[in-house]
C-alpha cells in the first residue's frame, strides 16, 4: 500500500509540483488565518498576543446575542443577500440566452463588451457615481423626476431605498461579466439538437425552451450552489460607502458592524465572534443547498 502511494507520487510529481503554488496559497491565506478565530474565545490583547490573552469562553457570543440590534443586523444581512441572490442569479442567464439569440453578430459583440465594463470598476468609483446620480439637488435621476413633475426623492437618506439601490447597482455591475460562464455552456450545446428540433417544427421560442435552457442546466446548478454559499458575502465597501445614519436601519450589515466594533471600536475578539457566527450560518446554507441539489438532480459540488 505504502509503496503504491509513493509510486503514484513519483508518477504524478510534475502535476503535483504544478499544484503546489495553489496549495501554498490556500494554506497561507485561507487556512493559517483560521487560527485567528481562537481570539473570539479570548479576551484578546494586542500586545500580550494570542497565547497570553485570557480565555473567556463564549462571552463575546453572548454579547452579540444580548445586543438589541443583533437581530436587525442579521436580518439586514440575510435579506440583502437573499434579494441580491434572487435578482443576481437569473439575470445573467436571461442576458446570456438573449445574446445567444442575437443574430447581428457585430452589434452583439459591442453590447457584450459594454456590459462587461462595470465589472472592472472599483466599488468606490461605483459608489461615488451612485451618490452623484442620486443626489436630490444635483443628480440626473432626480432632475429627470422633477422634469416629469414629481418631487425629488432623497434616495440615499431613505432606509427603504437602500436595498433597491444596492441590488440594482450590483446587477448592473455583475450581469454582463457573469454571462461568460453561460455563454461557454451555450457554445457546448450540440447543434444537431437544434437541427432535430427544427425538423420537428420548433420555432425560436420552443428551441430556446427545449434545447438551449436544458443544455445549460448543469452550469446553472453549479452557479446556484456557488452563489448560495456566497449569499452572506456582501460587499463591505458598498454597504459602507452608500449607508449613513439615516439608512442604518437597513444598511447596517454584519461586515459594517464588525468594522465599527472591531476596527473602529478596537474589540477584536467581539468582532471575530460575530464574524464566525455568520460563517457558520453560511456553511449551513451551502451544505443544505448541496444536499438538495444532489437529491433532486445529479449535479453537486461534492
Amino acid at each position: 500500500m505504502k509503496s503504491t502511494i509513493l509510486k503514484r507520487f513519483k508518477k504524478d510529481r510534475n502535476y503535483l509540483l504544478l499544484l503546489a503554488p495553489v496549495l501554498l496559497y490556500y494554506i497561507l491565506f485561507k487556512y493559517v488565518p483560521m487560527f485567528g478565530i481562537v481570539i473570539s474565545f479570548k479576551d484578546y490583547n494586542l500586545f500580550k498576543g494570542v497565547w497570553e490573552s485570557e480565555w473567556v469562553g463564549l462571552k463575546y457570543y453572548e454579547w452579540f446575542l444580548r445586543n438589541p440590534d443583533a437581530w436587525n443586523i442579521i436580518r439586514n444581512t440575510l435579506l440583502l443577500g437573499l434579494y441580491r441572490f434572487l435578482f443576481l442569479y437569473p439575470a445573467p442567464i436571461i442576458l446570456a440566452v438573449l445574446f445567444y439569440l442575437m443574430r447581428w453578430k457585430k452589434y452583439r459583440r459591442f453590447v457584450q463588451t459594454v456590459s462587461y465594463m462595470p465589472f472592472f470598476m472599483s466599488q468606490v468609483v461605483i459608489s461615488s457615481i451612485l451618490i452623484m446620480l442620486l443626489s436630490p439637488s444635483t443628480g440626473w435621476i432626480n432632475q429627470m423626476i422633477q422634469w416629469v413633475g414629481f418631487e425629488p426623492v432623497y434616495f440615499l437618506q431613505k432606509a427603504e431605498w437602500f436595498r433597491t439601490i444596492y441590488i440594482a447597482s450590483d446587477v448592473w455591475q455583475q450581469v454582463g461579466f457573469s454571462t461568460i460562464i453561460y455563454l461557454a455552456a451555450l457554445a457546448a450545446v450540440d447543434p444537431q439538437l437544434y437541427e432535430a428540433a427544427r425538423m420537428d417544427g420548433a420555432g425560436r421560442w420552443k428551441q430556446t425552451l427545449h434545447v438551449t435552457l436544458p443544455g445549460i442546466v448543469p452550469a446553472m446548478v453549479i452557479v446556484f450552489i456557488l452563489q448560495l454559499g456566497g449569499i452572506l458575502e456582501l460587499s463591505f465597501d458598498k454597504a459602507f460607502l452608500l449607508g449613513n445614519v439615516a439608512t442604518i436601519e437597513t444598511s447596517d450589515i454584519v461586515s459594517t458592524y464588525v468594522y465599527r466594533t472591531g476596527i473602529i471600536g478596537g474589540s477584536y475578539s467581539y468582532a471575530s465572534a460575530i464574524d464566525l457566527s455568520m460563517a457558520l450560518i453560511s456553511l449551513l446554507l451551502i451544505y443544505s443547498a448541496n444536499r438538495v441539489s444532489r437529491k433532486v438532480g445529479e449535479t453537486s459540488l461534492w
Binding site: 494586542l46 500586545f47 471600536g265 474589540s267
Partner: protein, 509 residues
Amino acid sequence: MKRSKFSWAAVTLLTLVTVSCSKEAAETTPKPAGSAEPAATASAPSDLPEAATIKIYTENNTGWPAKEDWGVWKWVKEETNITVEQVLATGPESLALAVSSGSMPDIMSVFPEEVQKFGPQGAFLDLSQHMDKMPNVKKYLDSKPDVKERVTTPTGEILSIINDGAGEGNQAVWFYREDIFKKHNLQEPKTWDELYETAKKLKEIYPDSYPFAVRHGLNTLNYIGPSFGIYPELHRNPEDPTQMKFGMQDPAAKEMVGMLNKFVDEGLMPPDWLTMDYKAWTQFMTTNKSFITVQFIGQIEIMNNQLTEGNLKFMPPPLGAGTKGYLPKGGAEIYGLAVASTTENLDASLRYLDYIFSEKGRDVQSWGKEGETYTLVDGKRKFNENYKEASDLRVISGIQTAGTYGWFDFDAWMALVKESEQPPYIEAPKYRMPVAGDLPMLTAEEGATIGPANDQIWKYWTTETTKFIFGDRPMTEWEDFVKGLDKYEVEKIKAAYQTALDRQIANAK
C-alpha cells in the same frame, strides 16, 4: 547557450547600473525653489544631538495637504537633528490598523477616545516614567493642571499629552449675512423662535434658498446643542459639573430636534444637510443660498474672503431652552500626542516631545524663523507677504497642523487675522458652555463592563433622531424614544462614567 547566459548577465548589470544611477539622481535633485537650503550651518548650535529619524502619525486634512518640504519639519531638523517622516491617516480606521499591525509610527496624534480605547491594551508608552528626560514637558504639564488632569489615567499613567494654545480656533460659532439682514431690515435672532421666523422671512424673499446651513451631519448637534443647554450624548451637567448626564434624555433635546424638524420640513435647511460636506456648504454660503450657519470661528474670515459681495458677521447663539444660549466649550484642544510602546527610537521620540513643548520649540513651531517666515518691523513680528490669511500658515508651512506643535502661540495665528475679523475671538468666549463634551477616563474594568454598549446606543440615538428630524417619525413618539434609551443600557453607561468622574474629582483635590 553561453551567449544567452552572457546577455542575461549584461541585462542584469545594465538594470543595476540604471537603478543606482536614477537613485543617485533622485537624491541630488535640487530642492524646489523657496525651500532654500537650511541656513542651519551658520546659526544652529554646534552641539546638536545625534541624528535620528522618527515617524509621526498625523491627520490627513484636504484643507492643508501635507508636504514633505513643510517648514515645520525643516525647523525640527535644524533644532533637534531629527528627521521626521510624516505618516498620514487615510481614514477613521488608520490608527486602529497601525496599532493592530504592531508597526506603529513612533509618535501618534491621538484623540482622548483613542487613548481610552488602545491605552489599556498597552499601545502607548507611559510617559510619566520618562519625565526626567523631558523637563520641558514636565514644566508644561505642571503649568497646565487642567491638561494634566485630562491626560492622567485612573492608575496615574500619562499615555498622551494634549496640545494647548491653538484651542481658540477650535470654537464653533454662529454667523450670518449682515448685509442681507440689513437690506431686509431683519434683526439678529435672539431665540430659536426668532431664528425660525427670520429664516421663514428669508425663505419668502429668496424662495430657492435654504437660509440655515450646517455641514457636520448629525455631529452638528454637538455645536447647536449648547444653545439648548446640552450636548447630545454623555457629558457633565452644566448646572452641576459633578454629575454626568445624557443629553438626549433632557427635555431640551426634544425642543432642539423638534425645531430642526420644522426647519427641514419647511425647507429652511438644505434637504441633504446630513451628507453635506465642506464643499457643498461653501457653495451654499457663497452663492446666496444660505445666510445663517454654525461653523468654526476661522471660517468667518475664509468665507468673507470668498464672498464677492456682502459680509458675514458673528452672532451670539440664539436661546433654545433654559436661561442662556451657549456655544460649545471651545478654547481647549482635543488632539494630543502619544508615543508607541513599541518604538525603537525612544530617545529621539522623547527628544521631539521635549522640543515642541519647550519655549524655543513653541516659538519656532508657531512662528517659523526670522527672515524665513517673518521679519521684525518696529520690534514686532510681521509674516512675509506670501501668508495672506491665517490658514496659509497651515497650507504653506504646516504651522498649526496636527503633530507639528505641542504648545502653540496663538498670537502667531492672530497676527494674520484681519483686525475687522478679530472681534469674534473676543466675543465667543463669553458664550461658552461651562462644561466641555469630553469624558473622564475609565479604568480597563469599567471599560469592559460597558463593552459594546457605546456603539449600540450611538446607533440607536442617531438613527432615531435622524428619523425625527426628517419627519419619518412623529415628534409625538419622542417619549417612547427616550424610554428606548434604557433598553440600550444608558443608565449603566452613565453610572460607569459617573464613577470615573467621581474619582477624577477626588484625585484633583
